[in-house]
């Protein structure tokens, strides 16, 4: 819905928010999880919050969700602060945690009805949601017997029970197989088409962010490094190309280009050198000359347009997928 001036309404506003935690038992040592974050999510916008582990994503989401209170700054959801509006705001927010276990001996339908009762919803709403998240076959299954994907579908179903204005999904597909992941995406894409729900999604999958979200926020060490639509970010950063190459008969290492004018990194996972060039036509001959002067020869040279993943690497120094592989 647009406001009177024709602009989209903001549903979440985060203003200069700080949050730190005590590190260990020493009261003197603290970790700043979120440092002066400003953020605005508009009505109907699907936003992805990308960042490595410990970047402050969950803390930020928990503050938006009202579970944590900021040390400083202000968070407004649909223009309201959490204090004094808890009941009201809980009614318009849907939430799915990365990993939630439900009451083992309640079945899918009973679980949905229980959560539905918290919102004072009609019992039929549970049936609607069962269809929405495609759990009809598992309606009478105890939650303990559900697979990871089915459990995550149920979690999303619970998040959708109240037809939320705002949906917060914390890594909804982590640990799921590709099929289950695509099924979850399909549910969320349908939601995007049918309702005017705003979404904040934290994820470790760049593909997921690109498929589902029209707004990307890259957060690292408690600070937002970049934000914008996928197109904006790519245009802003990619007035050039990404190159990848290996060298013939050379034991690759990080030091070859140290001290040169080239900002070239050794990517261990790909076993290739990688770099971003703004102007290939002028910069590439210089690179080739440099390599020639070292008596080396290039093999497997590739150049391509930059991706969000490249942007993420250039900002945080690591692949987003690395988080997943480590987990």
């Amino acid at each position: 819905m647009n406001n009177s001036s024709g602009r989209l309404n903001s549903v979440i506003e985060v203003k200069e928010v700080y949050k730190s935690f005590r590190k260990g038992k020493d009261p003197g040592k603290t970790v700043e999880a979120v440092k002066g974050v400003n953020l605005q999510i508009m009505e109907g916008q699907f936003a992805a919050l990308l960042g490595p582990n410990g970047a402050g994503k969950t803390t930020l989401v928990e503050m938006i969700e009202g579970i944590q209170k900021p040390d400083r700054g202000e968070i407004c959801v649909t223009g309201k602060k959490w204090k004094g509006h808890e009941d009201e705001l809980h009614k318009i927010i849907g939430l799915s945690l990365q990993e939630t276990h439900f009451i083992d001996k309640l079945n899918v339908e009973e679980t949905l009805k229980l959560f539905g009762s918290f919102y004072e919803l009609h019992k039929n709403r549970a049936n609607e949601v069962i269809n929405l998240v495609d759990l009809e076959e598992k309606r009478k299954s105890f939650t303990v017997n559900l697979s990871g994907g089915q459990r995550q579908k149920l979690a999303i179903g619970i998040a959708l029970l109240n037809t939320p204005k705002i949906l917060l999904l914390d890594e909804p597909t982590t640990g799921l197989d590709p099929n289950a992941r695509r099924e979850i995406w399909s549910i969320l894409l349908n939601l995007k088409e049918q309702f005017n729900t705003s979404l904040i999604l934290t994820t470790h999958y760049m593909e997921e962010a690109e498929q589902l979200c029209d707004y990307i926020i890259i957060i690292h060490k408690g600070e937002i490094l970049r934000e914008g639509t996928t197109m904006q970010l790519l245009e802003e950063e990619h007035a050039g190309k990404r190159i990848e190459f290996a060298l013939q008969n050379y034991k690759q290492d990080d030091n070859l280009f140290t001290g040169s004018k080239f900002n070239i990194q050794w990517d261990r996972s790909k076993e290739k050198y990688t770099a971003s060039f703004k102007n290939l036509e002028t910069e590439l001959p210089d690179l080739f000359n440099f390599i020639k002067t070292k008596g080396l020869q290039i093999k497997n040279f590739e150049s391509r347009r930059k991706t969000l993943d490249d942007l993420f690497i250039s900002l945080t120094g690591r692949h987003l997928d690395e988080e997943n592989n480590q987990n």
């Binding site: 945690l97 918290f118 004072e120």
Partner: protein, 378 residues
């Protein structure tokens, strides 16, 4: 306007908690079947009709007295032809007295020391201690314990019927205090009380910790669910389960062992509710912070195990040192077990249980309030 009770929400919570319990066979086993089996086993062990064996500890008044040298036993050996020596493992004698109407009574006299006799007494293995000195035979027993009294009277009768002019030992009674008459009468009220504690602290406390560790609490509070509804519904369903468990146990004990409630049923209901509130409070307090089930396990054991041991569930805590007894009797489980036992055995009414009722209620309210104050929902 905000409703104080959201009926649908509350009844849905009650419904889900009930299903959660009823669909776990292990919970039903430990909550219902296990106490019944325990009552059956112990009841059979202690109440079956057979030859009545009465063990008596015989001790000397000085430590230098050698085994077999007790004057009392010499007297019995000389004057009673039916007395036989026990096997080599045991120092003592066995006397069998047959009576057509009363059945056969077997008296086993074991030579022992005061400390061993005290342990046997604590274990309920003996009801009478005979202290043998050159001048006196002292009978140590609990005068309100019929077993002790009968054993004393019978032995005294045997001795006096065999006495001659030259037997100069005088008989003296030294009363002991030990609660409980029939063991099952003593045990069932204790078991009922222990059931309330275990069911509340484990069923409620562990349930909360587990839901926290699985992030279910965190998920639930991200909805408009009233936090108080969650805890009160858990407590309500647990009290209802305790009522069913306790009721079944009583019916079973009544039918099989003839256990009756001599006192006020209303008083029993009051102390039952107070006990539930007390232990629900203890459970909420115990489970208020941790999200680790292992830690929770330890915490709950740390709370319950000492009370099981100390609070006189299986045997009277009166045998603990005096300084300890004054502390033990204030433990929630002791208050509850003593109250329930007083109603069952001593015919107590509302007035007699007023103090434990109030203390239990206060314990529950204080623990619940502190627990809620420091409660960690995520």
């Amino acid at each position: 306007m905000k409703k104080i009770i959201r009926t649908r929400q509350f009844s849905a919570l009650l419904n889900s908690h009930a299903k959660e319990i009823l669909r776990q066979p292990a919970v039903l086993f430990w909550g219902i079947l296990f106490p019944l089996l325990m009552t059956l086993g112990l009841g059979i062990a202690f109440t079956q009709s057979r030859d009545i064996i009465r063990k008596v500890a015989v001790i000397g008044n000085d430590s230098g007295q050698e085994a077999g040298s007790f004057k009392f036993l010499k007297f019995m050996r000389e004057k009673t032809q039916k007395i036989k020596a026990l096997d080599k493992k045991h120092n003592g004698y066995q006397l069998t007295v047959k009576d057509e109407k009363l059945g056969t009574s077997v008296y086993i006299f074991e030579e022992t020391t005061w400390s061993e006799a005290a342990i046997l007494l604590k274990r309920g293995e003996i009801n009478l201690i005979i202290e043998d000195s050159s001048e006196d035979i002292k009978y140590h027993f609990d005068p309100v314990n019929p077993e002790g009294l009968i054993t004393y009277l019978n032995i005294s009768l045997i001795i006096n019927s065999k006495r001659s002019a030259e037997d100069t030992q005088h008989e003296k009674i030294e009363p002991l205090t030990l609660q409980g008459t029939r063991y099952i009468d003593f045990f069932v009220p204790g078991l009922l009380s222990m059931g309330i504690m275990m069911s509340s602290v484990w069923g409620l406390g562990y349930n909360i910790i587990e839901k926290r560790s699985r992030k279910l609490l965190r998920r639930m509070i991200a909805t408009p669910m009233k936090k108080s509804h969650f805890l009160i519904s858990l407590m309500t369903i647990r009290t209802a389960m305790n009522f069913i468990e306790g009721g079944l146990l009583f019916i079973f004990a009544y039918l099989v062992f003839g256990i009756i409630i001599q006192g006020s049923v209303l008083a029993l209901l009051f102390i039952f509710i107070a006990g539930n509130i007390a232990f629900a409070g203890v459970a909420v307090f115990t489970a208020s912070r941790t999200a680790n089930t292992e830690v929770g396990n330890g915490l709950i054991n740390a709370v319950t195990t000492p009370m099981i041991v100390l609070s006189g569930i299986f045997f009277s805590y009166q045998n603990f040192p005096d300084w300890a007894v004054s502390f033990i009797r204030l433990l929630p489980l002791s208050l509850l077990a003593d109250g329930v036992r007083a109603i069952f055995i001593e015919g107590a009414g509302l007035r007699e249980i007023a103090v434990p009722f109030l203390v239990l209620l206060a314990t529950g309210i204080v623990c619940f309030s502190i627990g809620l104050k420091i409660f960690k929902w995520h």
